[in-house]
Symmetry: C2
Subunit: 110 residues, 2 copies
Amino acid sequence: MENDELVQNMLLELRRGVLSIAVLSQLGKEEYGYSLLKALSDLGMEIDQSTLYPLLRRLESQGLLQSNWRIVDEARPRRYYVISPQGRAVLSKLKKEWSAMAATMHKMLS
Amino acid sequence: MENDELVQNMLLELRRGVLSIAVLSQLGKEEYGYSLLKALSDLGMEIDQSTLYPLLRRLESQGLLQSNWRIVDEARPRRYYVISPQGRAVLSKLKKEWSAMAATMHKMLS
């Protein structure tokens, strides 16, 4: 395999775990798919719709998000997502673990 | 699923990507399985043998590590691993991406 392809695959693996935390962390207030995508992108986390939407559905099926359809300002109905109480509890644990992991990686890589 | 189980699964996913970088970063000098396990653990990254050994074999099959059997001090033969030139190139890219990702996550979570 070419190096670039290898790196891309390894980054995909890395991002898979990070994205769940990123998404949960940005849903303290309601967002719909595109507004969330935009918020993540503004923070430097690029994510495709084709990755984000299945992830949102998975997190909802795990009880970590709640969603409902809403019509705002004449736009077509949109599904809005927000973190659930269970999601908050899980996010809080994931944050702690992430911080520990990031600190360890910082030591290793510097 | 219970919260703890969910968190554990999400952490597993997260760790999977991180471990490849961690392992590559610690193989600038030769290590055998157990000595590497110990080095990672000393830095705060716990990893099972049952996770580490398949990962070493995978990284070697990808050309990122080199290994050879060696007999040191009357001990039984051990397979020593060290990063390859290709591994160094890949690690260097992964490090940059990791730093960017960690900085983004820091903004999101604080």
